[in-house]
């Protein structure tokens, strides 16, 4: 097929041509563009193939296999049978599973807010370059670095009645009896674990928020000060809006972490007294590795994955930036604060 007209004589070809330096007509441009685009697509595909293969091998396949196991009565050893959705229908009628889900929700509701507030407060304290801020950043972040399992064992010793530091200190200031048994009473155990986890996890939130705070241009605060803004107004009108994404990230990490809570409960209370402090991951563990109901436990795990996915999606939606929902074709200019090189941390 002959191309229409003299493609080389069309001035538009130069404007619309691809970056070949040659003057091409629109048809030629389209053909050449399609060829190059296809080649780029193939190159892109080749480059991402190893990553896709790894994700498929180590994420999608195990996930799919787990879904399959959840549709069977998979035991520890021996033959199994395909039972369809029976495990899932049993789950919704299992009072212990429902209790563990509700307990996990309660635990998440209790700790999420304080972790954010304490983390924010600590970030405010250490975001400047004042003397000692590096020390406090390290000190606040240290619990997260040491690790939850190690610290849970330490807490177990310090919560012992008559010999632990918790009872000693609290009895000295009149807040508890010297023989308070924290880990064998539902209310006391939940209180102790929540306080412990807030202490543990706030450091990570602090780091996430501090990084965001240090990225805010100092000129914005200077402008606010010129307008007569108070410290609270600067935090409320400047810092918080610009930290929206950091706060969203911190909240999502915190909520997912709370839904996956296991170590602290396993070490400190073993889910007791009875099963009153048994979070959903411990329920899964007990079903799988104590009761050896692997199919049923996997159904619980898949349900948890779905629930976490939904909650994370809802969080992403609620905490999204107001401009992040724009379509890709929307070319209207976006009004963003000017981000100039930061001349140093403010104040």
């Amino acid at each position: 097929m002959t191309p229409p007209g003299n493609v080389l004589s069309r001035p538009r070809a130069a404007r619309g041509g691809v970056r070949t330096g040659r003057r091409l007509g629109s048809w030629g441009t389209r053909v050449l563009g399609r060829g190059l685009g296809a080649r780029r697509s193939r190159t892109g595909m080749l480059l991402v193939t190893p990553a896709v293969a790894m994700v498929g091998l180590f994420v999608l396949f195990p996930l799919g296999f787990a879904v399959y196991i959840s549709l069977t009565d998979w035991p520890l050893i021996g033959p199994y049978h395909f039972i369809g959705g029976q495990n899932y229908s049993l789950l919704v009628h299992d009072p212990q599973f429902i209790h563990s889900v509700l307990f996990t929700l309660l635990y998440t509701a209790i700790v999420t807010g304080p972790i954010l507030l304490v983390g924010y407060g600590m970030a405010v304290l250490v975001r400047s370059g004042r003397f000692g801020s590096v020390f406090f950043r390290t000190a606040f972040f240290l619990p997260f670095i040491v690790g939850l399992a190690t610290e849970s064992f330490m807490a177990l010793l310090e919560l012992q009645p008559d010999s632990g530091a918790a009872d000693y200190v609290l009895s000295k200031i009149g807040l508890a009896h010297a023989n308070t048994a924290w880990t064998v009473d539902y209310g006391l155990a939940l209180t102790a674990i929540c306080v412990f986890v807030i202490w543990f996890a706030s450091g990570l939130t602090m780091m996430l928020l501090m990084a965001g705070m240090q990225g805010i241009p100092v000129e914005l605060y200077e402008a606010a000060e010129v307008d007569g803004a108070s410290w609270w107004q600067k935090e409320w009108r400047v810092t918080l809006p610009l930290l929206r994404r950091n706060i969203a990230l911190a909240l999502i990490i915190s909520v997912i972490g709370s839904f996956l809570a296991f170590n602290q409960f396993y070490i400190l209370t073993e889910g007791g007294p009875g099963t009153s402090t048994q979070p959903v991951v411990m329920w899964i563990y007990e079903e799988a590795f104590v009761q050896y109901h692997l199919g049923y436990a996997t159904a619980g795990a898949i349900t948890l994955v779905v629930v976490i996915g939904i909650i994370s999606a809802v969080q992403f939606f609620l905490l999204r930036d107001s401009d992040s929902g724009r379509s890709r074709g929307d070319r209207r200019p976006v009004r963003r604060p000017v981000r100039r090189p930061v001349r140093g941390t403010r104040r």
Binding site: L76, P79, Y80, P161, E286, V290
Partner: protein, 440 residues
Amino acid sequence: MKLSARQTLTGAAAVMLLSAAACSSSGSTPSSAGSAGSSSFGVNATGTVQFWARTVSKTLAQKLVSEFNATHKNLQVKLTLTSINDDVTSLATSIRAGNPPDVVGLNDIDTPTFTRENAFMNLTPYIDKLPFKSDLSPGHMGLATYNGQEYGVPYWADLSVLWYNKTLFKEAGLNPDNPPTTYAQILSDAQAINKLGHGVSGFTFAGDCQGCLGFTVQPGIWADGSYLTSGGIGSQTASITNNQPLVQALTLYRQIWTQHLVPDNDRTDSGATWGEDFAAGKIGIMPGGYGQVVDLVKPSQLGTEFMDTQLPGSNGGYSTFDGGDDFVIPTAAKNASGAWEFIQWVLQTQQQVQYPALGATPIRTDVLTPTFSATNPEDAVALKALAKGYAPVTLVYDQMFNQASGPWFQMFSTAVYDGNMSLAVQQGQSGLTRLLQQAS
């Protein structure tokens, strides 16, 4: 459609083009002779034997393997230590993959879970040929027996005894050579020692450790001739209601608790610090394991400061929890002949008498000779109890006795800490019945 897990795993592996890796050798080298059923089975085997032992028997296993390898040039044992928390799932996974070890030191209470699935080799004809068969630990053998066939032999014993502090007995005016042999004596001796004051308590127990309590409280009930379950696997029932020995055992602990004869932090002891106060010389009497205290105190303190006696029943008699491990050979073991040769070697007297020094109790009652008693007086106490030892044969032991949410601990807590015996018995009967019905 009925599929085996192994078939599915193999198919999945093929889809992933990993079947070659999945089917790779475990490292066992098959014996050149001695297939199962032949007269040469377990005799002059060659190659390598893969031996999985729990970390709790690390010292014993390492010593045995080292000595065996030094004396058997043509048959070498390769030891792999498995975590006590996931040894069962590790073994099940290896069996599913068709690549199990040749011999396993398996927690004896977990053995029934595997034997009913024919996962282990039937060792009955070989055990029958052992001249000391009748001397093997009855509790271990009971757990390894299914439908009249024996699928394992004892490896080592972890037995519960009653430890006491001879120094505190003397200080309290008690005769250290006359330890308690009834519940009443336990209570009165604990009361006398508790009066010493200065941080000394008469008694101790791990009050939030379900397994520890099952290990130490049940033998008193067995000594009185009673058991918490009855019947064989598949038709077991709970025997809690009207179980007077059980009520007497719980009553003893209730009295000890309400009279403050134990440290306050016993209530929250999940086992992590169990026995440390006894080893520190602050406790008069402690039910516990033989190896547990041996690991906590200096050798010079054994017999001089600390001594043990059998766990008594309410009015005399004694028993012990027949814990520890069984030797089992998975059905798909590549060198079963070599594994059986190694097992036979371990069961010999020459190896058995080394157990006390390695923190374990032998599993042959005929090892208890005057010489053994003179050399190992504390382990001799445990070994004497072995003949009267017992361990519940059930598929749901962990669920019943080792869980914070299990019926055993719920019953113990209600009776001892809350003081409501009738409710405790109801909870125990209904909880055990529910689990036994699920398992049948």
